[in-house]
């Protein structure tokens, strides 16, 4: 069994309304030092198999097809045995 972690983030330049709202709220709470907030997804998959290389390939495919919306998002994949 392997663990794959997929981080999905908005591409730079894509508006992140959620990040903006969080930033404003942090400012209101006194955390003025926060200059920018971006919110992405952190997806953890438990995947059957031993061949980490192959698992990584498959998870990248999953990310490309389903986990990320490649029109506005980019992703990174990291696999661990």
């Amino acid at each position: 069994m392997a663990i794959a972690r997929v981080i999905v983030e908005l591409k730079p330049g894509v508006l992140d309304p959620q990040g903006e709202a969080i930033k404003n709220s942090l400012h209101a709470l006194g955390y003025e030092e926060v200059k920018k907030v971006r919110v992405g997804k952190f997806i953890t998959l438990e995947v059957e198999g031993n061949d980490l290389k192959e698992i990584e390939e498959r998870v990248k495919e999953m990310a490309d097809k389903l986990l990320a919306n490649v029109v506005i998002e980019k992703f990174t994949v990291q696999v661990e045995g």
Partner: protein
Amino acid sequence: MRFGVVVFPGSNCDADCFHVLKNVFGRETVYIWHKEDNFDVDCIVLPGGFSYGDYLRAGAIARFSPVMKKVVEFANTGGLVIGICNGFQILLEAGLLPGAMLRNKSINFRCHDVYLRVENASTPFTSKAHEGQVLKIPIAHGEGNYYCEPDTLKKLIANGQVVFRYCNSRGEVTEDANPNGSLYNIAGIINERGNVLGMMPHPERCSEKILGGEDGRVIWESIIAYLERGANRG
């Protein structure tokens, strides 16, 4: 008797609650702007909607609004607070009620009528109903899947803090009747002291005949009766 409906940026059932209290029940009602921290009312309504866009988590940002400090104080002195839908979520985030909301089991936003069974009819919000009464009230939410720790649930049940549970039209609490996956079919709970209620369904949407149902009235009527008895704060 004066009602205050809190307006957070992104609230969108504020005007609906205001309309029902003011025009349907003829009660004095005021809006309370989220930056206000000075108001004089007998019952606070935290309305539904998407305060702060529901960004991060529903209710997470709203709980830090200046008004919430006063709402907490008000609640701690026995004042009546009812949170509906997003208002319920805010009460959870603010710690006035225990537990948290998860995404609906179906993932989707759901808007339709549900049936609720009144589990506790001796609260200020349900005294005009009777235990076991079935109310037909609409829901409209994407994050109404109530969750809490097992110990908390035990306490809620033991104390009679579970006020409404999702049921079918015959009043049977079944899995099929649960629209969002809520623990124990919970649709509404009250705090230990009994003056802060949170519920996901929208009683303000079924308080007039023309809108197809009036089962929501019993909640407003209970509150009004309670306030008329002068039983609030003090």
